[in-house]
Symmetry: C2
Subunit: 142 residues, 2 copies
């Protein structure tokens, strides 16, 4: 379940602590990307004295290790577990999001890998534009 998390942390030379478990667990079972503040609040349910600084230290660590991803939502940065989908259709007017399924980018990854020597682990594909409501709004309210 969260075995990947533990081994990943270990193999990178980091210790497995209650604080890190708590932070990851929170992301893991969240159904939507969370802000750092939310992670802290929820994390304290799992690890009583979880410190704010630790959360801010852990989240970027998880990103560096590939266990989580940082997303820019209207309202600030949010984090989500790597497993979650990252294909969205975002309205630039109101910020509404629609998660997507299909994706054409897979093929390109291999190509990039060979071309630049990068180890391509994933990708983020976001379409942006206007939702039906905001299209109407733009017309009517000038």
């Amino acid at each position: 379940m969260s075995a990947g998390f533990e081994t990943r942390l270990r193999e990178a030379g980091y210790r497995l602590t209650p604080a890190r478990r708590a932070v990851f667990a929170v992301l893991r079972q969240a159904s939507t990307p969370l802000s750092a503040a939310e992670v802290w609040r929820l994390g304290r349910a799992r690890h009583a004295g979880l410190g704010r600084a630790t959360v801010y230290r852990t989240l970027p660590l998880l990103v560096r290790l590939g266990l989580a991803r940082a997303l820019l939502a209207p309202g600030g940065v949010r984090y989500q577990c790597s497993e979650g989908g990252t294909h969205r259709l975002v309205c630039r007017g109101c910020g509404a999001e629609l998660p997507l399924s299909g994706c054409p980018a897979g093929a390109l990854a291999q190509e990039l890998s060979e071309k630049y020597g990068y180890l391509v682990e994933g990708h983020l594909l976001e379409f942006y534009g206007l939702c039906p409501d905001c299209q109407r709004r733009m017309r009517h309210e000038v």
Copy 2:
């Protein structure tokens, strides 16, 4: 040149002010995405008394209007003019970025447009993984 900016602002019912001109001009001629603080500093070269609050008000406005885009870089949020490319290959280890050219997402846009009623104006495609250096580092320094 920046005619699109002016008409876009007008047609959405916003006024054309020196402050907004300055902010947009800064983004416009920047070769790399800028933080809000950088926009403020550079903007004051163009409009002496440009206020910090105005910058923080204007940047999201430009995003809502489709004139700029917000990007999440390691180190914080950065803004760039809509024209700039948004196809990157980002290293999750060190944050290094490589701008890309080709893209397979265009076709999907039309499809989404019909399916959800969204007006799809563009997309952001980001591959993430490890640069060659960070791959070595991960092996050697555990």
